[in-house]
């Protein structure tokens, strides 16, 4: 079992100190490509959390069977299999959600953060901790991507939650700026993603710096 201190450490690592997007700067390709709005960012993160929890648990359970020399191909095999199984089950069971998440799920395989956590954590720790580590790393990604997607959407088209009607019919996006807002397409384009991400990293570093020098 795990102690409370251990749990807290894993959570703090994932959500803040080792935040995948702001500190490790890993997995930028899917991150920048899909965070054109808040919903996309949240959805990609939720799917990633699921895959990271599963891959952490599976790799950790099998870690004694995997020879050290070939661990990377085996990890890649496990992650790719899990992603595909998740993809297929979403397609079959939750088709509405799949249409929104569809393009994101295969992208998770290309997210090196999954492989990185499996290699750095799950291959050396028990299953429960590994699954939790995956979830916490994913939660760190979740709030960052939600913020990134939300900011880009707000600046780019003046709304929030656009696309929510595809998830829950009946809900409508929120028009934050007046309807006449001309939009600012740069924020929606890839360069906008880099600029906003850069601002977020600067913001986090500023908080850290202020904390360090009272």
């Amino acid at each position: 079992m795990m102690t409370l201190a251990e749990l807290r450490k894993i959570a703090a690592h994932g959500v803040w100190t080792q935040n995948t997007s702001l500190v490790q700067i890993l997995g930028l390709c899917p991150l920048l490509a899909v965070t054109t709005n808040l919903i996309n960012g949240v959805m990609l993160s939720l799917a990633t959390i699921l895959v990271m929890a599963l891959s952490g648990a599976v790799v950790s359970s099998l870690r004694k069977l995997i020879p050290h020399e070939i661990r990377i191909p085996v990890f890649a095999l496990i992650v790719a299999t899990l992603v595909t199984v998740v993809d297929l089950s979403f397609n079959a069971g939750l088709h509405q959600l799949y249409l929104v998440l569809g393009i994101f799920i295969p992208l998770i395989t290309t997210n090196c953060i999954v492989l990185a956590r499996v290699e750095a954590y799950a291959s050396k720790n028990p299953p429960l901790q590994s699954a939790l580590d995956g979830v916490c790393m994913g939660v760190g990604m979740l709030w960052t991507l939600a913020l990134l997607g939300g900011l880009r959407e707000l600046i780019g088209q003046g709304t929030l939650f656009s696309g929510i009607d595809m998830l829950f019919s009946g809900l409508a996006p929120i028009q934050v700026f007046p309807a006449g807002y001309p939009g600012f397409p740069l924020a929606m384009l890839p360069p906008g993603a880099f600029i906003v991400l850069g601002c977020l990293i600067a913001w986090k570093n500023w908080i850290e710096a202020r904390r360090a020098s009272p």
């Binding site: 020879p67 020399e69 070939i70 191909p73 085996v74 199984v85 297929l88 397609n91 397409p185 929606m188």
Partner: protein, 217 residues
């Protein structure tokens, strides 16, 4: 080391690693194949439902009473429609009579890759409606071809094809107004509508040229 232990050589280690990797691959491919078999019926049913939902956007359901997905004519490969595979034209019937044709077409020259379109025609060739069902046009610029993204919600861009009679329109008119044609386009994003207009025209010509075969019972 006891004599019973196998000698540790580079070849031995490599052979063991290869065997282990092979076993892992077999096991995980088996898992994948199982998951695929298990989900296949549900995935296919969901895909058919999804197709019907797209058809609903171009062709109201009260106009026909058959299953257009099960009533398709397969024609030769049609580069005009942007496909390498044989063209499939769906037929919607009411009381056995064909009331509409649904054609899938691809505009290969969108600003950001191909644009997939679904177009419904009357049996006489007039357009009932058209929709862009998959595209990657720039958000906020070219994506107004999708009525859900169009700022003009009262009269989205793509609805100007509704009720159009392609036979009555001259080739030169199949252009955006900026190029001397008859179709509107937003300033600054004309590559996308040009591609869509061309693709709809090609589809109309394709259907008109093969009307007899498509309408044959």
């Amino acid at each position: 080391m006891t004599p019973a232990d196998p000698p540790v050589t580079a070849v031995g280690v490599a052979a063991r690693a290869a065997c282990t990797l092979f076993l892992f691959t077999v096991v995980f491919v088996a898992i994948l194949s199982g998951a695929h078999q298990w989900t296949l019926p549900a995935v296919e049913a969901a895909a058919a439902r999804e197709k019907m939902k797209r058809i609903d956007e171009v062709l109201p359901r009260e106009r026909y009473d058959n299953e257009p997905l099960d009533d398709a004519v397969t024609l030769e490969a049609a580069p005009e429609l942007g496909f390498d595979e044989p063209a499939r034209i769906l037929r919607a019937r009411r009381d056995g009579r064909i009331v509409a044709l649904v054609v899938e077409a691809v505009a290969p020259d969108g600003y950001a890759g191909p644009i997939r379109l679904l177009i419904a025609f009357e049996p006489d060739g007039r357009v009932i409606g058209a929709r862009a069902v998959a595209h990657r046009e720039t958000p906020g610029l070219g994506d107004y071809i999708d009525p859900r993204k169009d700022r003009d919600q009262a009269r989205p861009w793509i609805t100007q094809f509704d009720g159009l009679n392609p036979a009555a329109i001259d080739a030169r008119e199949w252009r955006v107004k900026k190029d001397g044609g008859r179709f509107d386009a937003l300033a600054g994003a004309t590559v996308t509508p040009r591609a869509v207009i061309r693709a709809i025209r090609q589809a109309a010509l394709f259907v008109a040229a093969r009307r007899e075969r498509i309408l044959a019972p």
